[in-house]
């Protein structure tokens, strides 16, 4: 009996896991322990473990700067705006697509919406530059000039950037959001619509009383999961699209760009690693919380 059980252990399966386990160890688990540098005064010569322990000093200096408030406001603020707008646009496009009759047209629209999703944020930055460059940009030369308006030096005017970044983000992600909602809209049983048609329901009634209530769980799940990552930001969008312009820092600096800037200048490495740890921990708690709520609403959609 014991022998038979022993035979069941299939070592080949464990061998398969080895490369992945090593990767998790070096890429994820050992670096997790390095987060202790947030509590140390990092000294390059002494390394992570040898550096002097300073307790909460880094956190104190981080939270005493104005930066800590700005990066928090920007990260959370942009995310909230993005969540609401991508829900509205993604859902609206999905419903509009579903109303079409021709399958070919549906596919064509979907494909054109997905094009921006495919390209790198570096290429996106060039496109934004082609639009906004002060001397050669499309907007200054081909829109403002014919209207008799003065050219705007976009890359040094912070007040426009909340709108620009929101537009760029939508441009890149609307196809993705549309497809997620579209896939759940098309899964609705036609029987509901037929019954509604017999009852003489208008198009609006159909959308608000059938479509949206039925795909409610997708909407809630997507929103909660995005809320769970409200402490994260798309580094490329906030660093590269504004071309790292220091004039715009007030409205473009997020936790991720702040942490990256810490690598470049040793003076702020302590505060940056404190910010990084703060992001990881709060982010982790938020994901757990979001998942807990999703689980209550729709067990199928929960991540775990």
């Amino acid at each position: 009996m014991k022998k038979a059980k022993h035979k069941k252990i299939n070592w080949a399966l464990y061998v398969m896991l080895i490369p992945g386990l090593f990767y998790l160890l070096f890429n994820n688990y050992i670096p997790m322990t390095f987060t202790v540098i947030a509590f140390k005064k990092y000294n390059f010569q002494k390394g992570v473990w040898g550096s002097e322990f300073v307790g909460l000093e880094n956190f104190k200096s981080l939270f005493s700067t104005r930066d800590s408030w700005i990066i928090l406001r920007n990260t959370v603020g942009y995310n909230l705006v993005f969540i609401v707008i991508s829900l509205v646009i993604g859902l609206a496009l999905a419903i509009l697509l579903d109303e079409l009759k021709s399958g070919k047209a549906k596919r064509r629209y979907q494909m054109s919406y997905l094009l921006p999703y495919m390209i790198s944020i570096t290429v996106v930055s060039y496109i934004v530059y082609a639009l906004l460059s002060t001397d050669t940009g499309f907007i200054n030369n081909s829109i403002l000039k014919p209207l008799g308006l003065e050219p705007i030096s976009w890359y040094s005017r912070p007040k426009y950037w909340p709108f620009i970044l929101t537009a760029v983000n939508q441009w890149k992600w609307l196809g993705y959001n549309c497809i997620i909602y579209y896939s759940s809209v098309i899964s609705i049983d036609d029987g509901y619509y037929e019954a509604a048609a017999i009852d003489g329901a208008t198009r609006w009634q159909r959308i608000f009383h059938i479509t949206i209530p039925i795909i409610r769980s997708t909407i809630i799940t997507m929103t909660l999961l995005q809320l769970g990552s409200i402490f994260r930001s798309d580094f490329g969008l906030f660093y590269q699209v504004p071309m790292d312009s220091s004039a715009l820092m007030n409205v473009t600096n997020t936790i991720d760009t702040y942490v990256y800037r810490g690598i470049k200048s040793v003076g702020t490495l302590g505060m940056s690693s404190a910010a990084g740890l703060y992001q990881s921990v709060v982010g982790f708690v938020l994901v757990l919380l979001a998942n807990y709520v999703v689980r209550k609403i729709d067990k199928e959609s929960a991540m775990f």
């Binding site: 069941k8 252990i9 080949a12 399966l13 896991l17 992945g20 998790l24 890429n27 994820n28 688990y29 050992i30 670096p31 997790m32 390095f34 987060t35 992570v48 509009l96 079409l100 596919r107 064509r108 629209y109 979907q110 494909m111 054109s112 919406y113 094009l115 921006p116 495919m118 390209i119 790198s120 570096t122 930055s125 496109i127 082609a130 460059s133 050669t136 940009g137 499309f138 081909s142 441009w171 609307l174 196809g175 497809i179 997620i180 997708t218 799940t221 999961l225 490329g236 590269q240 071309m243 790292d244 991720d256 942490v259 990256y260 490495l269 690693s273 990881s280 982790f284 991540m303 775990f304």
Partner: protein, 295 residues
């Protein structure tokens, strides 16, 4: 009623077309600008139709001595090697954890899950790869950090294996004396083409489009990929003028078509992705739907 329906469809199509234009026109601007004459751009700005159709920018790009072709080669090599390695390591991890009879399965699943939920962040990862592995300015810097095994992709593959490969088939293969590696290679892999195709697409896109690993770990300009080169040129106009010009001294001098050249290189950065797009959009949409909630 019918008339009303028609009116709605027209408005519906108009809205959808406007959104499509919003998505596509910026690409037209990018392409047209790269095919324009430098002087015309300097005077009248980038435009939706090429200004004085001109291939000068592309001539500079294709003049092999300036490093752009080399960067292109780097991108291709990174994408190819990275995708193969990543697919192998992902499949090798996903298959055992998809097997219900694997002892300790929940531990291996948890290790994967937790790595998605919590990460040390950029600075610890950076210290690991540069301090312990001295990955700076090596080819591995593009392949290994963060990108090599994405937890979400492992979960997608695991779920596919668990749902689509009947354990009866695995059992009978074992009866015939096939080893686990043989089963994985000759039964599981051929049966999992849809998910493997989807993952290949997403992984190769991530490698082709990646510029962050280059930004963090590569400082030598003869090792740049096209995306890293693009990033560097955008943020550092001086680099654009000096870096490219020093390699082509004499042949261009001060007359380098900076404005159009920028756009030409950006076009090249997006081109492979746009060429494959019509052929892979089915997998792309499928992958987004599967990965959405779980990824």
């Amino acid at each position: 009623m019918v008339k009303k329906d028609k009116a709605f469809l027209i408005i519906d199509n108009i809205v959808l077309i406007l959104v499509a234009l919003f998505c596509i026109l910026p690409f037209v601007l990018l392409f047209s600008s790269s095919f324009s004459n430098e002087q015309a751009i300097l005077h009248e700005g980038y435009s939706l139709l090429p200004r004085h159709f001109d291939l000068t920018a592309y001539k500079y790009v294709l003049n092999g001595s300036n490093g752009i072709i080399r960067a292109y080669g780097y991108s291709a090599a990174v994408t190819l090697i990275g995708t193969v390695l990543s697919l192998v390591i992902t499949t090798l991890y996903a298959y055992p954890v998809s097997r219900k009879d694997l002892r300790g399965r929940s531990v291996f699943s948890f290790l994967l899950f937790f790595s998605i939920l919590f990460n040390g962040g950029l600075i610890p990862t950076y210290m690991m790869w540069t301090g312990t592995f001295h990955i700076k300015n090596t080819f591995a810097a593009y392949i290994v950090p963060t990108l090599l095994m994405n937890g979400f992709y492992v979960i997608m593959a695991r779920n596919f294996f668990a749902q689509n490969i009947p354990s009866a088939i695995l059992e009978s293969a074992k009866m015939d004396g096939a080893g686990e590696f043989k089963i994985l290679w000759s039964i599981v892999v051929p049966m999992s083409k849809p998910i493997l195709a989807t993952l290949t697409l997403f992984i190769s896109l991530n490698y082709w489009n990646d510029w962050q690993n280059g930004l963090y770990y590569v400082t030598k300009d003869n090792m740049y990929t096209i995306q890293v080169l693009l990033n560097r040129m955008l943020l550092d106009t001086l680099y654009m003028q000096q870096g490219l010009a020093k390699n082509m001294a004499g042949s261009i001098g001060a007359s380098m078509p900076t404005s159009t050249l920028k756009m030409a290189i950006a076009v090249l950065g997006a081109l492979p992705v746009m060429i494959i797009f019509p052929f892979v959009s089915k997998y792309l949409t499928g992958g987004i739907v599967v990965g959405a909630v779980k990824g």
